[in-house]
Symmetry: none
Subunit: 213 residues, 4 copies
């Protein structure tokens, strides 16, 4: 008779989603069973199907929730009046911080969706592509402004940039690269430096927005 308002004590739907993140990260989407998620969330098996139509839909939900935030971030960054290099830095920073704050979720999104080209990657190709387009738009504008070289197509540049970022995150996920606060911040600079400045030794007087460490 207590709680009479509509708000439930706990949002079971959220409970399930959060549990799914942990389970997917730990066991992988295909290897885990729906019962593992229910167990992790501490809810009954059937309740998962009360809130979600399928196991797939849980991952879809997790991905879309987060990816939309990323897309909006990219758009927002592009709208700002800052140099393109800073825009790319901002995007890199957003992604890296996303991993820093919730490594499980980002691992799931990258490993199970973005890199899972044959399954969810294919399903969400349109969404994923939008991120590329957003980045390509930044590149294109920079090219028109003369800040970026024009002999590399924006699409291509966007792919290379995103590929580098994703690979670095994959490196963290699979312990190919050291992790840590310092590494995360360095990575932001290094990615942008690599993609914008290139690996070649040149006379460098300015660095990425003074963030060089």
């Amino acid at each position: 008779m207590a709680r009479t308002n509509a708000e439930p004590a706990v949002d079971k739907r959220r409970l399930i989603l959060d549990a799914a993140v942990r389970v997917f990260a730990r066991q992988g989407f295909h290897t885990c069973r729906v019962s593992d998620i229910a167990d992790e969330a501490g809810v009954a098996y059937g309740l998962v199907y009360h809130y979600f139509d399928s196991k797939d839909q849980i991952l879809d939900t997790l991905f879309l929730e987060r990816w939309d935030i990323l897309l909006r971030a990219i758009q927002q960054v592009d709208a700002e009046e800052i140099p393109p290099r800073e825009k790319l830095y901002a995007i890199t920073s957003f992604i890296v911080d996303s991993y820093r704050h919730d490594p499980d979720l980002m691992q799931v999104i990258i490993v199970e969706v973005t890199r899972a080209a044959n399954t969810f990657g294919r399903t969400h190709l349109a969404h994923i592509r939008e991120a590329y387009y957003g980045i390509a738009a930044i590149v294109e504008r920079a090219q028109r402004a003369g800040t970026f070289r024009s002999d590399i197509t924006p699409d291509f540049a966007a792919l290379a940039f995103y590929g580098a970022v994703e690979q670095v995150l994959t490196g963290w996920i699979f312990a190919l690269l050291p992790t840590g606060e310092r590494e995360y911040d360095q990575a932001k600079t290094h990615i942008v430096e690599t993609i914008c400045g290139g690996l070649d030794q040149t006379d460098r007087t300015s660095s990425t927005a003074g963030r060089a460490d």
Copy 2:
């Protein structure tokens, strides 16, 4: 009475491997059944298990066969006395040409192994890592020679470089980028230009070994 030597008329094992490449590329590893491979190869179901212990082992075999060739190519390139930028170009060229000559096989390797971080990628992590190390070694040497900047770790640079290459191939596989002879050759230059020269507009008089288009 012809063929009297021990060589069989057709190498059924090879037949199965080649069929598996087509089936994996078309349907994906997890989606296809072993019978699909047998049907595609035109052999009996059981023969697949005569030559391979499991469905997994078929993919393992395909991956290892090809990946070892890549690893050797990287080592060979590193041993040559050419500028680091040309080394990276040679590696990129090798990978892109591999895709050009057998897109199905490269698709399978990338989509089902290299990017399938939670399944085969994990199994073959050690092999995959060796490619990174090979590239990192090239970067490191270039840094010591003063040709590459030294503020980006070789491991990091290798990951970014390989990430860009793989993402471009993924772009072709999923039609995010246009394909074609011209595109393949351009991609080689662009990847190296992006990673080595950077996206920034600078005074560029020389390009990658005269291969600029």
Copy 3:
């Protein structure tokens, strides 16, 4: 609105076990399929795996359930203050009555476990051995009391006794011996008479606890 307690209308697990007894007895463990059990029980295929990990585990469960009862019976008999011959009679009686009351179950236990030395018999050797030990303990005590001769080791006597009992049941199972209420009761006496009294003609004034027929 009737049944409101947690007790299910029918215990499906029990339903499956009982069906398995009938199927194993009719077709043999190796010859039957899991679907045969499910069909016999009138449940879905998957439910069998909801309650049991494997087909093997079903047989294990059936065996262990029943064998533990036998072991307890042997222990109980040994604890009583009756002559050793009566103890052996009680054990024989218990086994024979088990067969009388549920011939299918006893057939399964004997044919598929106890006599299946290479498969389940090996798995449950420790349990089976315990029965021998229990019988051997009775023999040993009788030898110390001077009731049984001491030149035959208890282990050996136990094996011979159990072997005779099991062979008689096998005789019933495979129609080598006539079955029926009368035969079951006679068998009890005859087994004990044979093992304790021997086949030799002697001056016999007393028989097994007055149960001679």
Copy 4:
């Protein structure tokens, strides 16, 4: 051009049978594959099927070869003019010595045929039964001669006797009883003593044909 007579250098058929005995004893009939037998025999896979119609037939052959020898031995024993107790001793002795001389073969016959009631035991029931009948005939004659008691049917006595023998062999096979030359000889006496003399303590002046140890 050497060996021109019809006799082959080695009897491959025998080679296969002997190998099968070892493989069946080691791995069990159901657990081993036909290729295991071929490997053990050092012959090609297909040759097994040149000499035998099926895997089953190999076991059938092994069993029948040996069992016929046993049946003949029983008949021969029964034909002799010796006391029934000595007849049973002779049969026991024959079986125990068979195990002593070729434990693998006897293990296979007992474990895979005689005790495998649901598979080969059923197939060869008629043959197995003949052994019981042979023993029962001895008992019956002894009953008519007044040497054996008449209140136990010959069939029943035969089953009990054979059951005890088989169980003792099973005890050796599965290490429930100690093995060794001494144990084998003692077992002969003990089995006959148990079945003929009984476990009861009585005034015993004569033992089994002076073979008591």
